[in-house]
Subunit: 353 residues, 2 copies
């Protein structure tokens, strides 16, 4: 199943914005919704004042229920690949909590007037390939007619209380590890514009299909974790640093990058999310002062991006060796400091520490 097959229909040509780049602007969303009066029962350990985070519900028996949902328009052309990426992306929030996925439910908007409904089969086959690989099962869902193809999943996982990872536990002295390379946002835009080389696209697809399942991590303590998605490395790192009441120093030159992504960013292949992400982080990071094209990598909206892990400095070598097989692009990208004026400071490790 190749994205470059000479198929009559290219999914990415049917939508205005693909993948997590199609999110509503974060800053506007948060502003509009901050006045909502939300109930917060004591069992809801992690909720959300916004519409964009995962939730943790205490089942009361030492087990936490972890719930998240995510959906988007096609980011690649092949239906099997799109289904697989949509599933891996939705499952990612469960892994970001250290939890094990149990059920997934489909969220489907289908343009029945434009697309043959037979396309649902490869689409769902791709999704099931990833859902089953995660150990979860498809338990239901809902579908409507919609002008744009939309696919995603509501996913539930469970985790023993003592093994859960929150995004608020990063401690000064921790090392920051990113498990997947960046660049899916610009590469997806380049694909849509027919400016992406096929091996770039295939590299991005393989990365996006990869489950953020780190496997057992014996003798490694993960202090905090989040997954990098639509709000970019800068946005999600900022959220994690703020939740943990610390600051992150991230060496921009150590960041793992997908093949072709820097070339696309040099060619200014950006989408609106690059700009809204930059606006979102401008008060709490120095992303805006970073030279181009690096600035746009920091704010590149990821679809099914990697985990950002905060682990005690003494354990990062051990964790990196455990990740070597499944996540060969994983890198130590920075460290956690006491809280400073900026939540995240990007620096150029070639010239400065």
């Amino acid at each position: 199943m190749s994205v470059m097959d000479s198929a009559p229909i290219r999914l990415t040509q049917m939508v205005k914005k693909g993948g997590c780049a199609a999110k509503l602007p974060a800053a506007t969303l948060r502003q509009t919704l901050k006045d909502l009066r939300l109930n917060r029962p004591s069992q809801l350990l992690v909720g959300s004042q916004s519409l964009d985070d995962a939730a943790v519900w205490d089942l009361g028996n030492g087990t936490w229920l972890v719930q998240t949902l995510d959906f988007f328009t096609p980011i690649v052309d092949d239906p099997f690949d799109f289904g697989a990426i949509a599933a891996a992306n939705a499952l990612s929030d469960i892994y970001a909590m250290g939890a094990t996925p149990i059920t997934a439910m489909t969220i489907l908007g289908f343009p029945a007037a434009q697309l043959d409904m037979a396309l649902l089969k490869p689409l769902m086959d791709g999704a099931l390939d990833r859902i089953h690989a995660s150990g979860a099962c498809l338990a239901g869902g809902h579908s409507i007619e919609n002008d744009a193809l939309i696919l995603g999943f509501s996913v539930t996982g469970i985790v023993p209380e003592h093994r859960a990872w929150l995004n608020s536990g990063a401690r000064p002295g921790d090392h920051l590890i990113l498990t997947k390379p960046l660049g899916t946002g610009t590469l997806a835009s380049a694909l849509k514009l027919n400016q992406a080389q096929e091996h770039w696209v295939q590299g991005a697809i393989q990365s996006m299909k990869t489950l953020n399942d780190l496997g057992p991590l014996p003798d490694v303590k993960v202090n905090a974790s989040t997954d990098i998605t639509g709000f970019s490395l800068a946005g999600h790192a900022m959220q994690m640093a703020q939740a943990s009441e610390v600051s992150f120093h991230i060496d921009a030159h150590r960041l793992p990058v997908l093949q072709g992504a820097m070339s696309c960013l040099e060619d200014k292949i950006l989408n609106r999310a690059h700009h809204t992400n930059l606006a979102y982080v401008q008060d709490a990071t120095n992303a805006n002062e970073t030279p181009e094209p690096l600035k746009w990598l920091l704010t590149d909206p990821q679809t099914s991006g990697g985990l950002l892990l905060s682990v005690p400095g003494a354990q990062s070598t051990k964790l990196m060796s455990l990740l070597a097989t499944g996540f060969s692009e994983a890198r130590v990208i920075g460290e956690v400091k006491d809280k400073e004026s900026l939540s995240v400071r990007f620096y150029d490790g070639k010239t400065q520490v």
Copy 2:
């Protein structure tokens, strides 16, 4: 908040099909998806070969997790009302299992180019009004830009194993009780066509906003339950009769009907779902032989419709008295028989028993 306010924007004028009428055709969907190879772990007590049912996961400690999701385009004009209906509709599947809702996550597609994002506030206020009334909390969600406004919720509930209601437990001799009047499909179409009287619309809105929370039902045993939504009374009754391996006899003249609905059906105000629902049930019911306009009431796609309950005949009077306060339109509409050639037989109680 009235649907007939002279607001500059009428949500129903922005979409092609509103509410559950915007579902993909059931028959086509099932046909397309029946070849999917689904994993079925032993904890998944109720799953779905289709994309359209609720799920039950056995937590292993005498408690079941009930999960469902539902979303659709505007069925009414007022954002608060639409939010409230979308939430009540999604919560309904939890009540149909006899469960208690705990968490809801938002599924939002928003046409940011056409609608002021300030509209999100009343939209979510309406949803929260119903979510909080159910005892659940909003725990997260996801939003994207979309040409059509789409709103819905992924909802999770819990129920002690011994108190859960399935749709497979109807027994010969049971009485069938429907808790809400029918007709939201034709009334929503009439509203969109500016052919609905205001008090008709208000009646439908009040019914759709009503939570299917029956409260405690002391000394009443519910043998089976389902909620009536997009696939109509005929479709959902057929599914329940087949799951229970029985047949239903339903007196079409006892059906509760929303004010104005029969008038709209007499005027042939139908949408595509009326026809696809009729096709869906034609081999297993006699809906197609029922005189118009009754035929179209049986196949009218409901949004946030009532529960169809199957209870031992000796207990139906007691249950009806318990429902009298909150569900004044509830009616005993038929009874359960040994399995016959038709899963559901509609008859005219005025002339025949």
